[in-house]
Structure formats: C-alpha cells, structure tokens
Symmetry: C2
Subunit: 322 residues, 2 copies
C-alpha cells in the first residue's frame, strides 16, 4: 500500500490529544504556540544527513531518536526546558516500515523529555532529518557561551569519547573483538541514542556562568566558550571522565577520542568555586555524573596539563563540516 | 581560500546589529526570543531539495529567496506577521561564491519582510535548504483551514499557474519562443522569487473564516480547507485570475496549470459575503490583486463550473511528494 504525503503525516505525525501550550498542532499551514508571559522562547535547529552524521546502515529508530536528541541537547545547554519541535524529513521514498521505526525512536525520546511535535514537512530526496526544537527559559535566565569568568571551575557531565569509540567499532575502524559485549553495547548506545542532559541543564542553569553542549569534541566546544568569553582554560587530563573502554584507548592511542571525538552530547559548563557544593548537590540528586576538570584563566587558549605536569596547548581541533 | 563551518557562519549569517525581539541570535547553542505577552507564536518549517523543488541549475540567490518565501507564505496564511527564522543549510562543499549569492537572495526578502535570521546549522550533504520561520499573531487571531462556513465567498490573491508555466519554460517542456520576453520573465520570476502575501494575510485575517496558501495547486489546497471545514465549494472557472500567458495555455491545454500547477504562493481564503466591501477595500489599499472565484456549499467536494454551465468535479489532484 502506498500512501500520499498527507496520509503519511496523518498516520505517523499527527498528535491525538491536545498538548500543553499547543493551540494549533500538526495539520495546518503552521503551528500556533502559547509562550507564557514570564518565559523566553529558546530555538535551535540541527540537521542529520545519512552518510555524514550517521552511517547509512543506522536503524531508523536510532536516526529518529538521535535527530531529536541533538536538538534537545542544544536547548539543555541554554538552560531551557524543551517543549515543542518541528520535523523536516527528506527521504528517497515513502517507506512505511522505515517511517514506523523512525517515529518509534522519536516517540521514545518525546515521552521522557515531554516534548511535542507541532509541525514540519516531508519531502522526497536523499535521507536527511532536520529538526527545529523550541524550549522555554525564565526571562534573562538563558546560560550563554560568553559568561565564563577567571577562576571559574570547568565541569563536564558524564564521560567523553564513548560515542566516537562506538562509531569506530561500527565502521570497523577498530576491531569489536577487543572490547567486551557490555562496553561495545554501551558505546554504540551512546552513539545512536545519546540522552540529552536537559534536566541537568535547566536545573543547574541558575548557578552557572557559561554552558555549551559537547558535540564537536571537548576541546573544540570548550574553545567556543573560551573565545566567546575572551578567556582561556587549564584542563587536567587525568581528571577527564572516561569509561574503561575509552581509558584503554587513551593508553594506547592518546587523547584523540575524549578530546576531539565529538558526538558526546554531554554538557560543559563553568561556575564560580563558591557554587561547588550546590552544583554537586544538584548533580547527585539527579544521578547525573559530573566532574570538575579544570579552571578558567585569563590567558587565551587551552592548556592541557598531563599527570606528570607537562603542558601542551589544545589545538582546538574538532569536527567541522567544511 | 577555504573557511571552516564556524568562519562561514560568522561571515555570512551573523547579524551585526541587535534586532527586535532577539535576545540571543546566531552564534550560541540556540537563539533566545522575546514573545510579547499578548501574542501567540506561529511556527512552520519547509525544506527545498535540489532536483525536487528547484532545478539544479537554479541560481543560488533564487534558492535562498524562495526557501524563505515559501515559509513566510505559510505564516501569511495563518494571518501571522513574520519575525524570525532558522536556516539549516546542507551543501556538498563550502562554496563561498555560492554562499554569497545565496545569502543575497535571503537578504533581499529579509529586508522587505522585516524578518531576522536567528540561528540554524550548516552541514555537508546533497544541496537542501530547510527553514523554520516564526511569526506572531494576536491571541486567538490565527486563521485556520477549518473555519469555512456555508455561504462564504472563496477568494484568491494574484494569478494562478504562472510559476508552473515558468517551470515548464525553464525545463524546456514548453518552447520559450511561443511567449513574449515579458511573459517569460514574469513566469520565471513567479517561479524563482515568489513574493509571499504576508501583508495581505495579516491585514485581512480579522475578516476571514479560513485561509491557506496555494503551494500544491489551487484544487488541492482548497481541498485541504474544505476537508478541514467539512464543507464543499463551487468554483466558477471563468472567474479564476489568470495572466495572459496562462490564459493562452488554458485555451489550448485545459485547466491543468491554474488548477493543479502549484508553486503559486497566493492566498486562498473564505469570508462571509457581508465582509466583501472591507476585504476589497483592504486589498485595494495594499495594491493586492484579489478575486472572488466561488462560494462554500454544504455538499463536500469541489464543483468546477465552466462558462457554459457544465459542472465537473475537481479531482483534488495536486503535487504531493509521495
């Protein structure tokens, strides 16, 4: 059975019940949204292209999940609560089985994050998913990249490099046999279904000076914060949070995976040392793993300090598209 | 010279001055927007893919202009005033000359429409432009597809079929030599740089029952209004607004171009007959060509009434992507 564009939208994307803040949802020329008077709207857009952002063999459910996750991660990095999103889906043909799996991936993340699809479009073309996500912050409460201050602690949530290791395992660049089943599954899960740190982002926001999500790699993304803030940072390599699998790779291959692997979707943020106890308390309450990895300094650039005290400059090398 | 993703964004997409309502614009994880307390947010997304929505030979400035125009047209069809947009640009390589021309097209429409780019992303892949546009309406003032009432007049702005004729001329499906230079230029302009009817949309909105923009073709888009409203329509073919070039095509080829050609980006709307004088007065003031082409009836479907009184059913055939 072949359905047309509008029937497919009806079947897979229309939301049955009224949703909070949604005056008009999927199905008109545009959606109509109520933004509460004491909130500001936070909006972001990110596109995932087959063969560029994910291998062509990626399961459609993972494509759906990750496309939404990377956008919610950007909202989390502003301290915003995600609320709504638009989906622009470009696919070569109307494959209903693919669409069913794809929407399962979206729904899985929608339900835990409390976000609602309100519109978008479907077009024919090479597989690509473009999502625009919207969230809310209290007026003036968004956490920007530009606020880092000298003396701030630099924190990172979770662990770094697992997704990049997962990609190397999927593509065969590294042999799977060298890693246990659990480590393998965990790295691939981190790659395909990264859980955005939205709750940590908006819970910690009031206590932070600057925040970004880690998508291009730790050094590149911290570099964005430092350039926007006109500051530098000293990072203790030994304190970087690593899984056992990534730690093993670091021992044999160096620091590439955690420093510039990318696709982590962890939060990197800075805060005054006086906030340490409240920040760690919130992270504990949320069961969000959190590590202080260095401090903000006046001198621009990133100095990576090894366990033996040697210092090297971070080359700010991360994944860029051009 | 080859620039990276972030340098390209800086050079081509960062907005120099503060813009109304924009608290944080291009350059952070997400944009932050102030939505006035007495307004609702109206959001839409549309993607244009090379070889699907425009021929690969289309000038980059036209690609930029049209990508934004089709989104603003959706906002106009809700009665919203366009304000901000996000751009997700996928392109095969960082071609600076292409980007300069592309942004010229965006800027040309931005300046007349008063909209501001606030964020988005650039990725590598087959050429595609996904835009998410945001506008504002007074609370409860959005004009939906579902409000058409029996007895309403059916109006359409501008003329129908010119863009579809332009496409046939560009692709060589029709010989250019049969049309004068002026008609040729006008049809191609309608195809490549459709001027969205935003001012007419939000000026007329308070007096309308239902509205949609004409992108898939007149019969298909009127069909969306009728299905959403649970009504039908009688359309007088002789009253359809046509340019001389399209009228000539209708005489030899029938009604395909104006009824299902698509890409018109005119507004189709319905209103009570009691509003005729105010609606025509507003259209005159705005120099917006406007034609009453029929009426809403109780019986579902579209009846197309020819000049000789014969009636045929509209097959609701329009352009769909699958």
């Amino acid at each position: 059975m072949s359905l047309g564009e509008f029937e497919l939208i009806d079947r897979y994307f229309r939301q049955p019940q009224p949703r909070p803040g949604v005056v008009v949802g999927v199905g008109d020329d545009a959606a109509v949204i109520d933004v509460p008077a004491d909130r500001q709207l936070v909006v972001t857009a990110d596109t995932l292209v087959t063969g560029v952002h994910f291998p062509a063999s990626t399961e459609p459910g993972d494509v759906g999940y990750k496309s939404l996750a990377v956008n919610l991660s950007d909202l989390g990095a502003m301290g915003a609560i995600p609320r709504w999103y638009l989906l622009s889906l470009t696919m070569p043909e109307a494959d209903e089985s693919w669409l069913a799996d794809f929407t399962e991936g979206l729904r899985a993340l929608e339900s835990v994050e409390g976000v609602t699809l309100v519109g978008g479009d479907m077009t024919r073309g090479p597989l690509a998913v473009s999502i625009q996500a919207m969230g809310l912050v209290r007026r003036g409460a968004a956490v920007l990249r530009a606020g880092a201050e000298v003396g701030d602690d630099v924190y990172v949530t979770g662990t770094l490099g697992d997704a990049a290791l997962g990609l190397k395992l999927i593509t065969g660049e590294l042999p799977r046999t060298e890693f246990g089943d659990d480590a393998l599954a965990r790295c691939i899960e981190r790659l395909n279904r990264p859980r955005p740190r939205t709750v940590a982002g908006y819970s910690l926001a009031p206590f932070l000076h600057a925040m970004i999500d880690c998508s291009d790699g730790f050094v590149a993304d911290l570099g964005h914060v430092l350039r926007a803030s006109g500051r530098g940072a000293e990072i203790e390599l030994a304190s970087l949070p690593l899984s056992a699998a990534v730690r093993r790779m670091v021992e044999t291959e160096g620091w590439g995976l955690p420093l510039s692997g990318g696709d982590d979707y962890e939060l990197i943020f800075t805060a005054a040392p006086s906030q340490r106890s409240v920040i760690n308390g919130i992270a504990d309450t949320l069961h969000c793993s959190l590590t202080c990895v260095g401090r903000i300094v006046d001198e621009p650039g990133i100095r990576l300090i090894a366990a033996d005290g040697t210092v090297k400059a971070g080359d700010l090398h991360g994944y860029t598209h051009f």
